[in-house]
């Protein structure tokens, strides 16, 4: 499964959800599918996308939040999984694209390449719903179920270690930040 295909498959379901991504390929690929004001790309601070998503989910429990994380980022903030589980925001779906490498800095293998199992770590941390998926069909199904479940889910999607040719886009970081904040200010609860 390619990450961009996975993002494309669920893109229509992101229309009225609050989306937070990590930096690098995830941010660039989601933007290439079409930026929306409800998408925020945390273009640094590796590990903190899930914490930022938790901050939104706790502040606005009526809003559905989706975090697109990565193996390299999550490995930098494994403790954050215990915090996520502890507060168990029912409105947060945490997707981890696991390509078993730090792709944007040369593809160096992460610990998931030697067997560390992020879904098992999330489950052991106390996240109530976890799964690992390997095909586009499995991912699409599991993502839809997670959105419908109304409970905290960490969904690990094993993806190929391929990404876009460039990571810098023409959306400036602060433009994205203020547009996203304005969206949240004007946003009412629920989904369409």
């Amino acid at each position: 499964m390619k990450r961009r295909d996975a993002l494309a498959a669920v893109y229509p379901q992101l229309a009225d959800r609050v989306v937070v991504t990590i930096m690098g390929a995830v941010a660039a690929e989601l933007q290439s599918l079409g930026h929306r004001p409800n998408f925020f790309y945390l273009q640094h601070a590796m590990g903190l996308a899930s914490s930022l998503g938790l901050g939104i989910a706790l502040s606005r429990p009526e809003l559905p939040v989706v975090v697109f994380d990565g193996d390299g980022s999550l490995l930098m903030n494994l403790g954050g999984l215990t915090t996520l589980a502890r507060y168990r925001p029912r409105n947060l779906v945490h997707v981890v694209f696991d390509n078993e490498s730090l792709l944007s800095v040369g593809g160096f293998p992460t610990a998931t390449s030697t067997g560390s199992d992020l879904a098992a770590i999330a489950a052991a941390a106390g996240v109530p719903r976890t799964a690992t998926v390997r095909t586009l069909q499995e991912f699409t199904k599991a993502f839809g179920e997670a959105l419908a479940a109304g409970d905290l889910t960490t969904l690990v999607a094993k993806v190929e270690a391929v990404g876009p040719s460039a990571y810098v886009t023409d959306l400036s970081l602060l433009e994205n930040r203020y547009q996203f904040q304005r969206y949240l200010r004007e946003r009412k609860g629920g989904t369409a």
Partner: protein, 171 residues
């Protein structure tokens, strides 16, 4: 435990008066009452962290979602949060209110706190984070309010160092 209950209450009340609704924290001796007050206050959400840097992300998310927050941590927790402060809060212009217990200063008896005490202010200065030390109870409310005002007007992190004479009562 000679952590000042009265002064901890003053700090909690000041945060509340500023509209702070989410407090993220990692326990340390000087913060025990503050953390308990946040936990017991039905108008506040306490987020207990595994590591302080998570609190930067939580506060950033809360700010973007329209909720005022504060971080409670020891100076070693601040040191552990530096990358998040720089590459989340400063990069994205997040008003971050940090209350940092200033361990390792004059009067410190724990040897393990002493290195952190030496570097906290220089690191704050290197990051260009405005900071003040809270030492006397009568300026707590005003300085917390002023720190929050600056954090919002500058859209940047601002720090208040909780001093020994405010937090610790001993002969």
């Amino acid at each position: 435990m000679p952590v000042s209950l009265t002064h901890s209450r003053l700090i909690h009340d000041a945060l509340k008066a500023c509209g702070v609704r989410i407090v993220s924290a990692l326990p340390e001796t000087w913060l025990v009452h503050l953390i308990r007050f946040a936990e017991d206050d039905p108008e506040m959400t306490l987020v207990r962290l595994a590591k302080e840097e998570e609190g930067v992300g939580i506060s950033a998310g809360a700010h973007l979602a329209g909720v005022k927050s504060a971080m409670l941590m020891q100076n070693h927790g601040f040191l552990a949060s530096v990358n998040g402060i720089v590459s989340c809060a400063q990069l994205y212009r997040i008003p971050l209110l940090m209350l940092i217990s200033h361990r390792g200063t004059h009067g410190e008896r724990d040897p393990w706190q002493t290195e952190g005490g030496l570097v906290t202010v220089p690191v704050l200065d290197a990051l260009r984070i405005p900071h003040e030390v809270l030492t006397a109870p009568d300026h707590v409310a005003q300085r917390i309010a002023q720190a929050q005002t600056l954090a919002y007007s500058a859209s940047r992190p601002v720090a208040l160092l909780l001093g020994r004479s405010l937090m610790w009562e001993e002969a």
